[in-house]
């Protein structure tokens, strides 16, 4: 039988799914073991047990200096920035995407401009952003927005253009104005794609968040990672990385669920 037709059984499948995670863990453990055997206070690859201890401490014990559990504060600060940035960017992208997708005049005006904007590497214009938007919360949110907005606009306007012309013509024959077509035909059909697009842009959003927090911040997940880099506290960095990965994964999952829940009409098939 050809390899492409060979399906793993349930047990084998579960094993296979777990395998790479296990291998990664074992490889790490061995690497850590070797380094620690040489230098017991090596910080680079802390033993998994050390990471577990550190994680427990970070999640439960308040910081000596500030008497707050830093990890939760960092998480709250970062999530707030992320949600604000992604939320504002999504709202803007939806509006601009609808305008570009529906109105030929706006399309002519903005499509090329947005395409060029999307090529500017946001990290390079960081100083300008700082000066214009200050160093406060605003600048971090703005960096996220600047980072993902061009992509979102391009994606969403593309999606609007992909809405079957038939539906729009049909709406016209029902007497719909441009506004009604935008609100009642295009917008609802755009929503599932918006969630899709937001899922795609969450990765870059995290990236820009971390970059912004690394540059000027008092709290936040990215801030902490770059701060403790100063004394090579890899146990803290790894805990934070795993935590961020987990958060990102949960957000992605939540958005997928949300989409299924909110837009049953996209899923339901005969």
């Amino acid at each position: 039988m050809r390899l492409i037709n060979r399906q793993p059984g349930v047990v084998l499948k579960t094993t296979l799914v777990a395998l790479p995670f296990l291998l990664a863990f074992v490889a790490y453990s061995i690497g850590s073991e070797i380094r620690l055997a040489e230098n017991p206070s090596d910080k680079l690859l802390p033993a998994p047990s050390t990471i577990a201890e550190t994680a427990e401490r970070l999640f439960t014990q308040p910081d000596r200096r500030s008497d707050r559990i830093l990890l939760w504060h960092d998480t709250a600060a970062s999530l707030q920035r992320l949600v604000l940035g992604v939320g504002i960017a999504s709202a803007l992208a939806t509006i601009i995407g609808l305008l570009i997708g529906l109105l030929p005049h706006v399309r002519a005006t903005l499509a090329g401009f947005v395409a060029v904007l999307s090529m500017i590497p946001p990290l390079a214009v960081l100083p300008i952003l700082f000066i214009v938007f200050g160093l406060g919360e605003l600048s971090k949110v703005v960096l996220i927005i600047v980072g993902i907005l061009p992509f979102l606009i391009r994606d969403l306007s593309q999606r609007v253009l992909e809405i079957p012309r038939e539906t729009i013509v049909k709406a016209e024959t029902l007497g719909a104005s441009s506004l009604v077509i935008a609100l009642r035909v295009a917008l609802p059909q755009l929503m599932p794609r918006l969630i899709q697009a937001v899922r795609l842009s969450l990765g870059p959003a995290w990236l820009f968040l971390i970059a912004a927090e690394a540059i000027a911040s008092e709290q936040g997940l990215g801030y902490r990672i770059f701060l403790v880099r100063r004394f090579l506290a890899m146990d803290v960095i790894l805990t934070y990385v795993i935590w961020i990965t987990f958060l990102a994964f949960m957000m992605d999952l939540a958005l997928r669920r949300l989409s299924q829940k909110l837009f049953p009409w996209t899923e339901a098939g005969l």
Partner: protein, 255 residues
């Protein structure tokens, strides 16, 4: 005067002619079937009737009004696919037939209740009342097209344009849709243009059958000339001419 008149219609896409010198006039209440080889411009002609596009030359007038510049309430349309709004339930789709002409496309309060009531009546008439709260994607192809027609009619257009409305359906479902359409038409007495691939269907349903074909043919460049109406059959005798034309046109020649 005729109800719909198309005068000397030419349509080019870029430099390529699709339609050439199309002339036709149609009385109010007539059912016009349009047949022709694939790609000959039937849908293009329907788009012109719909005012979704404007002809390169010539003009189409309805009830002697100036030519329309865009689709509007007076022309209903049903396409082969994408004819209903996938994000609305069946009932909402019918309500949309009335509510879309309002400021924000929404009814509220009493207007909403009344519109829902009327929509339920429509649904009962087209036999979709049992699926009023489902989304179109859960319906069979036949039900979707029935919904599309019901929705188009909810806006009470003066002309109904159908582009291969039953092209994607089973033969069985197709037959029942024929009955459905015949009934509806008897009720409303609307003017209908229907594009179809199926000659039999065209003759069965239509009062007249327009055959689109290229009057001139350049064997080295098949796109050199556009199509026009080569035959205009009176089909009220129930499809008998079917056998007669089969030899005359190249509608049925192998592609």
């Amino acid at each position: 005067m005729s109800f719909v008149t198309a005068t000397d219609i030419f349509q080019f896409y870029g430099r390529r002619p699709i339609l050439e010198r199309v002339n036709v006039s149609v009385e109010e209440g007539e059912f016009i079937s349009i047949v022709g080889a694939s790609g000959c411009g039937k849908s293009t002609f329907l788009r012109l009737l719909l005012a979704q596009e404007r002809p390169t030359r010539g003009e189409i007038r309805v009830a002697d009004a100036p030519p329309a510049v865009e689709p509007g309430l007076d022309r209903g349309v049903v396409f082969q696919k994408y004819s209903v709004f996938p994000h609305m339930t069946v009932r909402e789709n019918i309500v949309a037939g009335e509510s879309f002409r309002s400021r924000f496309g929404w009814f509220s309060g009493a207007a909403k209740t009344k519109a829902r009531k009327r929509a339920d009546d429509t649904l009962a008439r087209i036999g979709l009342d049992h699926v009023a709260n489902q989304y179109p994607a859960t319906l069979s192809g036949g039900m979707q097209q029935r919904l599309a027609i019901g929705q188009a009619l909810a806006a009470k257009p003066r002309i109904l344009l159908l582009d291969e409305p039953f092209g994607a359906l089973d033969p069985g479902t197709r037959l029942s849709m024929h009955d459905f359409l015949t009934e509806l038409r008897a009720e409303t007495g609307m003017t209908v243009f229907m594009v179809t691939h199926d000659l039999e269907e065209g003759f069965k349903l239509g009062d007249r059958v327009l055959v689109f074909d290229k009057p001139r043919w350049d064997p080295t460049d098949p796109n050199a000339y556009g199509a026009t109406i080569t035959y205009d059959f009176d089909a009220r005798d129930g499809g008998i001419p079917f056998q007669r034309i089969e030899e005359d046109t190249h509608v049925l020649q192998p592609a």
